[in-house]
């Protein structure tokens, strides 16, 4: 099978060595803030991996390497906007206001993790691959119906672009010009399936063309490039100019999840290559070069963020588990008679 045509170069603003290849879309202070958020996200990711090894969490899907793609994109949103993301997008969700507590609860296997605080417009993470993108289309569409200007941003992987629902979501967004920002994190893999075997198109970004939509290819490990692309997409969406597909080219540094053994299907070569493009390190270099970074500061934020995560873990683990009856209470606003009977039976250990 011949190789697909060579893909065009993704948009890059911050080079791996921390230099600006183009004007920065953000002031240094904001970049520093976002850097701190990426450090926080990585602390969470590491904590969850460790907890999973200790049997305190169910399966966990690491996002190491994808912090810039997630936080850079969400940084372009306002609180009234929506985030609709997946199991691997904890950084995106958290940055838009979904507490670590909720994320951890979800990972311990507790439905209460799905209850975002009031005012936080983040849906619980999508576990099914593909189905959630159209939800973001509907959320954005509601803005059109009501005449407000909230935008919906949805995150998904390269694998998700193969599902029929991706197509229907993109097509609806194109036809109805909904204020939707599609962020595909092409991290090279869908479990054991490499990106080249997922679709024969040279890039995912070019798929936008099939829907009369703008498509942008960006270096997903470049916080500033991701932000710039997302910012433009959000502005267009808010202005009624419709949706955008952003392909953020990145890499899944870990296995698919903590139960996956990536050694079965990929060799470690790529890892070193991608480690050199680490999304945090290049921002760190940029900050350092601009006199905004010291080792003590780094040490301080790492400890501070780890403590915040730790506190959330403690709170999650202290929460008493559901009683039998509680599993019924999320089903309807009012339990119908038949379910009330079942609830009673469950409490009594009967039926």
């Amino acid at each position: 099978m011949p190789a697909p045509p060579a893909a065009p170069q993704p948009l890059q603003i911050l080079t791996p060595s921390g230099d600006l290849a183009a004007d920065s879309p953000l002031p240094l202070a904001r970049i520093k803030d976002l850097y701190r958020s990426m450090v926080a996200a990585r602390a969470y990711d590491k904590k969850c991996s460790a907890m999973q090894r200790q049997g305190r969490l169910a399966t966990y899907a690491q996002f190491e390497g994808q912090e810039a793609a997630q936080i850079g994109a969400v940084a372009a949103l306002e609180p009234r906007d929506w985030v609709v993301a997946t199991y691997r997008d904890a950084a995106a969700m958290w940055f838009h206001g979904y507490p670590w507590l909720n994320l951890i609860l979800g990972r311990t296997g507790d439905e209460r993790g799905g209850h975002a605080p009031a005012g936080v417009n983040v849906l619980p993470p999508s576990i099914t691959v593909g189905a959630h993108m159209i939800h973001a289309v509907g959320l954005g569409w509601a803005s059109l119906v009501r005449g407000d200007d909230a935008v919906a941003m949805t995150f998904f992987g390269d694998g998700a672009t193969s599902e029929g629902d991706f197509h229907e979501a993109m097509n609806f967004a194109g036809v109805f010009r909904t204020p939707t920002v599609f962020v595909c994190q092409n991290n090279g893999w869908a479990i054991s399936m490499p990106r080249e075997r997922q679709t024969a198109s040279a890039t995912i970004a070019q798929k936008a063309d099939a829907y009369g939509m703008a498509g942008v290819l960006v270096d997903g490990n470049d916080l500033l490039a991701v932000y710039a692309a997302a910012h433009e997409a959000v502005i267009r969406a808010r202005a009624g100019e419709g949706a955008t597909l952003i392909e953020a080219v990145t890499y899944r540094m870990g296995p698919h999840t903590t139960t996956d053994d990536a050694g079965r299907y990929r060799d470690a070569d790529h890892l070193a290559e991608w480690a050199a493009r680490d999304p945090l390190e290049r921002v760190r270099r940029h900050l350092e070069a601009n006199g905004e970074w010291t080792a003590e500061w780094q040490h301080g934020i790492e400890i501070g963020e780890a403590e915040t995560v730790e506190a959330a873990v403690e709170e999650a683990e202290a929460l008493p588990a559901f009683d039998a009856g509680d599993i019924f209470d999320g089903m309807f606003v009012d339990l119908p008679v038949a379910l009330r009977r079942q609830r009673r039976a469950a409490e009594d250990g009967a039926g």
Partner: protein
């Protein structure tokens, strides 16, 4: 009050519902041409193309987009053209629409209606005659309802739109224009969790819903003519099931025949029989009979009559219970 058939009653219900600016209709051909059964006739003209929306041919997209709208606080009414075309949307319905309330422990909800014309009997092409309500009634988190009269059609549709949880609203194709009745103008609601005893009797209890209610009602008459006194229950809501009137009646009659046009195996009649014997076994004087579609694909036009339950088949089943 206006005399309306079921299609007209539904059209009126949608028109009344659209007075609320958060209600939107969407689906294939629902707008410009008023839907393949004309149930939304004139509504786009009246309420605008932004709220009565013609969509591309994509059922999963229709349901998924409606879901997003509902989460955002609108009250979408999505139409799927025929039950057989709801299957591409199955994942959206069962994995997302039915679950967001539980997944978010009430933080997000999907107050939406999915209207689905269903059932055989009009000699349609393959996939146009499905009666697979079980697959939705078996899905925790969904309400599944089906009216059989114009009055219920309008009142239940308005109740469905107002319901804070998702409702699968089945419309009996065969009865759209076959049943007429007085329908109040303006707003009213019919409860979505109560079965209705539509005939009282002492010898046998008939249980049905939707399009089959016509056969059930006719069976009551046919039996009366031969001196058999039949009670009949229109379930109206398939999930959650209200079997109280059925059980109460069976306790009196000791005999029961459950009717649906869905395939036999795994159909809701099984559920009904199991529940009734749980609650009234000692009243039973004969096995509960089921008169249903067969475990075949619904036959095409020339053979459809071999499949759909008829008054004759129901009467024969009643006779078996009387002779048991």
């Amino acid at each position: 009050m206006t005399e309306r058939n079921i299609a007209q009653a539904l059209n009126d219900a949608l028109d009344v519902a659209l007075a609320d600016p958060s209600v939107v209709l969407l689906g294939e051909d629902v707008g410009r041409t008023g839907g393949v059964f004309r149930v939304s006739d004139g509504l786009q003209q009246r309420h605008g193309a932004a709220r009565v929306i013609d969509t591309p041919v994509a059922e999963s997209g229709i349901v998924g987009a409606a879901f997003g709208m509902a989460v955002a606080g609108l009250r979408p009414v999505a139409e799927i053209q025929f039950m057989g075309f709801s299957y591409p949307a199955y994942d959206q319905i069962v994995s997302h629409v039915a679950r967001i309330r539980n997944r978010s422990r009430h933080r997000f909800t999907a107050p939406m209606v999915i209207r689905i014309p269903y059932g055989a009997g009009i000699g349609a092409a393959e996939h146009h005659s499905e009666s697979t309500e079980t697959i939705y009634a078996h899905t925790p988190g969904l309400k599944v309802v089906v009216p059989s009269t114009p009055y219920d059609a309008k009142g239940m549709l308005l109740a469905a739109v107002a319901d804070p949880d998702p409702v699968i609203f089945l419309e009996p194709i065969r009865l759209y224009r076959a049943v007429k009745g007085e329908v109040p103008d303006g707003h009213y609601a019919v409860s979505l969790d109560e079965a209705e005893l539509v005939a009282d009797g002492t010898d046998v209890t008939l249980v049905g819903y939707g399009a089959m209610m016509r056969e059930v009602r006719r069976t009551v008459e046919a039996l009366a003519a031969e001196g058999v006194s039949a009670a009949a229950v229109d379930l109206r809501t398939l999930a959650p099931l209200d079997l109280d009137p059925v059980v109460a009646s069976v306790e009196r009659t000791g005999r029961c025949v459950v009717v649906h046009e869905a395939p036999r195996t795994g159909g809701l009649a099984g559920e009904i029989v199991a529940s009734v014997q749980e609650r009234a076994l000692y009243s039973l004087r004969a096995p509960i009979e089921r008169v249903t579609g067969w475990d075949t694909v619904v036959p095409l036009r020339r053979s459809e009559h071999h499949y759909v339950p008829t008054v004759e088949r129901i009467v024969a089943a009643v006779h078996r219970t009387l002779e048991a």
